[in-house]
Amino acid sequence: MKAFNKLFQAIDQTTSTNEKTEALAKYLRESEAADAIWTVALLMGKRPKRTVRSGELRTWCSEESNTPVWLLEESYHVVGDLAETIALLLPGRTTNKDVALHDIMQDLISLNDKTDEERKNYILHMWRMLPHEQLFVFNKLITGSFRVGVSSKIVVKALAKVFGKTDNVIAHSLSGNWDPATVTLHELLDEQRFSEDSSKPYPFYLAYALDTEAEALGDVQDWIIERKYDGIRGQLIVRKGNLFVWSRGEDLLTEKFVEFHGLAKQLPDGTVIDGEILPILDGNILPFHVMQTRIGRKNLSAKALKEAPLSMVCYDLLEYHGTDIRHEPLHERRNKLIALLEEVKKQTIASPLQLSPEFPAANWEAVARERMAARDYGCEGLMLKRKDSFYKTGRKKGDWWKWKVDPLSVDGVLIYAQRGHGRRANLYTDFTFAVWDGDVLVPFTKAYSGLTDKELLEVDTWIKRHTLDKFGPVRSVTPQLVFEIAFEGIQRSSRHKSGVALRFPRISRWRQDKDAGEANTKEDLMQLLEVTR
C-alpha cells in the first residue's frame, strides 16, 4: 500500500501524461505481482463489489473524529469527495505500518459476509493503523470509482513499455472479464491463455466528431455512410457454442439480452459482430430511456420484453469463422457481415439482428441533407467510414467520423445551484434551469458542463452574492442569468415538473445579452416535443 500510495501521489502531482506513464511503468516493474494486477485493475476502473455503505462510513467517521454529522455533510459538499472528506476529518497518525494492496482488497471483498460490527471494526482498525497520508487512497478503495487522472490509455502504454508489446495487443489482453484476485499480469498478457478465453472482446474502434467540411474528405464514393444510432454500442460474440454480449464500457450484458440467446446456435462459431443495441418495435426505434428502464430491471417480465424488444443493428464484423479480420478493408468485412446475417435469417423468422443500412449518396450535399433528417429516424446523425478502412483500436482520427446533427437548444433561467465534485469541488457549478409557465418559472433541467473555467468562477461569485435561500447544499438565486441549454433529445416525462426530460443537456453559452424575461417558455418546450416526434 505504501508503494501504491506513492504511485498515486506521483500521478496526482503531475499533469504530464509522460510522467504518469513513467511512474506507472516504474511501479509495475518494482511491485509485487499480486499488487501489480490490482493496480492495473483499479486504474482501469475495475473494482470489486462495494462492501461498505457510504452511510456507514459517514457515521463511523463522525464518531471517530468527533464531528457532528451535519458538519461532516457540509464539509462533504465543499470537498466534493467522500473519501477525501473522511481522510481530512480523521485524526492524523504517523505510523510505519504497511499492508499489501492485494491483502486490503481481499479484506474488503471478504467484508461482504461479515456482520455490521465486524465490518465497522475492520474499517476503524485500518483508519487507526494506516499512516495519515494513506487514508485518502484507502478510503478510495472502499468507496468506488478510482478515477485519479489516469486513462486506460496510460495503463496500456505503461504495460506496453514494461512487457515490450504493442499497445494494441495490450489493449486487447486487458479487455473483457478477468479477476485480479485470481490472475496475474503475466497470465493476463500471455497470448496462449488469451486465445483460450472465448469471451474476450476486441477493443472498440471509436470515431471522433467530424472537424472539417465533409467535402474535405474527398470522393463521397470512397465512403460508407450510415446512420448514427443512439443506443448501446455492443459486441456480440459467439465462440465454442457460447454467446457473449459486451457493452462499450466492457460490461458483460449477455444475461440482459434474452432476445440474442438463440444466436449461440444460429451464428457460426468464431463470430464477432460490432453494432448498436436498440429497442425496436414494429420497425420503429423507441426512445433511449425505454431501453434504460429495461436494462435497469432486475427481473425481466414478459411485459417488459414486449414493450421494449431489443435488436442489434449490425455495422461491422471483426471475427469470421474464427479468424480475426479487423485488418481487412471495411467493404469486405461488410460483405461478409451481410452474408452472415442472411444465414441467420434463413434459420429464424424473428432475427434480432439487422444490417445497418448504407445510405447511397451521390454527393456530399445529399449526405448533408440526410444528416439533417436524422432525428426523424430517432438517430443522432451520420457515421462516415472510409470503405477501405481497417478496424482500429481505440479512438483514432482519419478513417471514421461521426457527424451528428446540431443539438436542440432552449434558453433557461438559472434558479438553483449546488457545489460540484472533483475539480469543481467548492464551486457552485451544478445548475438547475427553468422556463416560464405564465409568470412562474418551472425547472426543466439540470446541467453541469459547458462553461469555461473563467465563466464558472464568475457565475460562482455571482451566485454567492445573489443567494435568496439555502436548502441544505442547494442555493436558490435571483432569477436573472440566462443560459442556452443544448440537448440531443426531448421526451415527455411525468416525473419532471415541466413535463419533459432532456437527453444530454449541457450549457452551450451564457446569454449575457438576455434578461430572464427573454428566456424560453414551457410552451416552447411542448412545441419541440411535437417537432421532434
Binding site: 496526482d12 502531482q13 503531475t14 499533469t15 473524529s65 464531528t67 457532528p68 451535519w70 458538519l71 457540509e74 464539509s75 465543499v78 470537498v79 466534493g80 469527495d81 477525501e84 472528506t85 481530512l88 476529518l89 492524523g92 485518502f136 487522472g149 465534485h421 472533483g422 475539480r423 469543481r424 469541488a425 467548492n426 464551486l427 473555467d453 468562477l457 460562482d460 461569485t461 454567492k464 439555502k470
Partner: protein, 344 residues
C-alpha cells in the same frame, strides 16, 4: 456600539468605519489587502507598517495616520487600539471600548506563526467579529516547518534535473513569509515585479529579506537554471511565465488542502500554507477572546456560526460583508492582484 451597514462595519459613537467598502470619512484599516483597504476614504488609520503599502497601492496623497500596536486613541469617548492579527506584516485587530463594552474586529488573522509577521494576540472582549475563510473541520493546516521542508525539497528535486521552480503566492504578505522559508543554498531566487515592489517596501519598513533578483525584460533567462521564482497569481499562464521554461509550478495557499482545488488550478504541486486560520485556530481564537457574541464574516459563515452556537453555546450570527468571500481558491487572489498591481 457597532453596526453593520451598507458601507461596512460602523462605530457610530466614534463616527468611524472599520474596513469600509464604500467611500466614508473615517476608516480604520485592518490590513492592506485590497478587499479590506479600499480606495476613496477621506481619512485612513492603520498600523505603522501597513502605511507604506497603503500609500503605494491607494496613492501617496491619501490622508493616513499610523498607529503602533497597543497604542490607544480616544475618539468621542471610544478607546481605540490595534493589536497584532498575525495575518500579514502590519495587520491588526481593532479593539473598541465604550463605557466598558469591548468589541474586537479581527479582519483576517492566523495563529500559526510565520517568520515576518508579529504573532496574533488574543484580546478579551464582549463581542468578536471573525472571518471564517477556512471555517470547516476539513481544513487542518500543517506547521510552518513541515511545509518549509516540502517546499525546499521540491525545489531541490526540480533543480537537480535543471528545471526552475515557480511558486505562486500573494504578493503582499505570503511572498515575504515564503521567501524567508526558502533555503538560499539550493539556488538563486528570482521575483516577479509585483512581488519585488512589495519586498522593497517591506525592507524599507522592517529589515532585509533573503537576497533576490527581479526578473526584468533584460534578464538572461538562459542563466536561470534550477532557480526559484516567486510570482503572483496574475502571472499564471502569461507570456512572462512561459519564458521561464522549463519549470514546475506550485501554489501556496490554504485552498491547496483540497485536491479538487489543486487539480483545477493545473499546478504540479500545492503547498498548504495560509495566512488565515484553519478550523482549530478559529476555535482557539474565538474561545480565547471570552466573547459571548460572535459575528462571523466572509467564508463559510453560516456553517461556522452554527458550529459556534451548537458546540460552544455562543450567541453567534453571520454577517454579510464585501470582503472577498474567498469562496474560490486562487481566483479571488487573481482579482485582488490584478486590481492592485496590474502592471508588471
Amino acid at each position: 456600539m457597532i453596526s453593520f451597514d451598507d458601507n461596512g462595519i460602523f462605530c457610530r459613537q466614534a463616527n468611524v468605519y472599520i474596513d469600509p467598502w464604500r467611500p466614508v470619512e473615517n476608516a480604520i484599516v485592518t490590513h492592506a489587502h485590497s478587499d479590506h483597504a479600499r480606495w476613496g476614504m477621506k481619512r485612513y488609520l492603520a498600523h505603522h507598517h501597513a502605511v507604506p503599502v497603503m500609500r503605494y497601492r491607494l496613492g501617496s496623497d491619501i490622508a493616513i495616520q499610523g498607529l503602533a500596536y497597543q497604542e490607544t486613541l480616544q475618539i468621542n469617548g471610544v478607546t481605540i487600539s490595534l493589536h497584532p492579527a498575525g495575518h500579514i506584516w502590519g495587520s491588526a485587530q481593532v479593539r473598541l471600548e465604550y463605557k466598558g463594552e469591548v468589541w474586537v474586529i479581527s479582519g483576517d488573522y492566523k495563529l500559526l506563526r510565520d517568520d515576518v509577521t508579529e504573532p496574533f494576540e488574543p484580546v478579551r472582549c464582549h463581542s468578536f467579529v471573525t472571518e471564517s475563510t477556512f471555517g470547516l473541520p476539513v481544513y487542518k493546516f500543517p506547521e510552518k516547518e513541515s511545509v518549509q521542508q516540502e517546499i525546499n525539497g521540491w525545489w531541490q528535486q526540480n533543480a537537480a534535473v535543471g528545471e526552475n521552480s515557480v511558486l505562486i503566492v500573494y504578493a503582499l504578505g505570503k511572498a515575504q513569509s515564503v521567501l524567508q522559508l526558502l533555503d538560499p543554498n539550493i539556488g538563486k531566487i528570482y521575483t516577479h515585479g509585483a512581488v519585488d515592489n512589495i519586498n522593497r517596501l517591506f525592507e524599507q519598513t522592517l529589515y532585509p529579506l533573503h537576497p533576490t533578483e527581479r526578473v526584468e525584460a533584460t534578464t538572461d533567462r538562459k542563466q536561470m537554471n534550477g532557480a526559484m521564482i516567486i510570482a503572483p497569481p496574475s502571472a499564471m499562464g502569461t507570456p512572462w511565465m512561459r519564458k521561464l521554461q522549463p519549470y514546475k509550478l506550485s501554489i501556496c495557499s490554504g485552498w491547496m488542502q483540497l485536491r479538487g482545488a489543486r487539480r483545477r488550478r493545473g499546478a504540479d504541486r500545492g503547498f498548504v500554507l495560509s495566512d488565515h486560520c484553519d478550523f482549530q485556530q478559529l476555535n482557539t481564537a474565538v474561545k480565547a477572546t471570552g466573547a459571548a457574541n460572535v459575528y462571523v464574516t466572509h467564508g463559510y459563515k453560516s456553517i461556522y456560526a452554527k458550529w459556534l452556537r451548537e458546540q460552544y453555546g455562543l450567541n453567534a450570527s453571520e454577517v454579510d460583508t464585501l470582503y472577498t468571500d474567498a469562496g474560490e481558491p486562487g481566483e479571488e487572489i487573481i482579482a485582488k492582484e490584478a486590481g492592485n498591481e496590474g502592471v508588471q
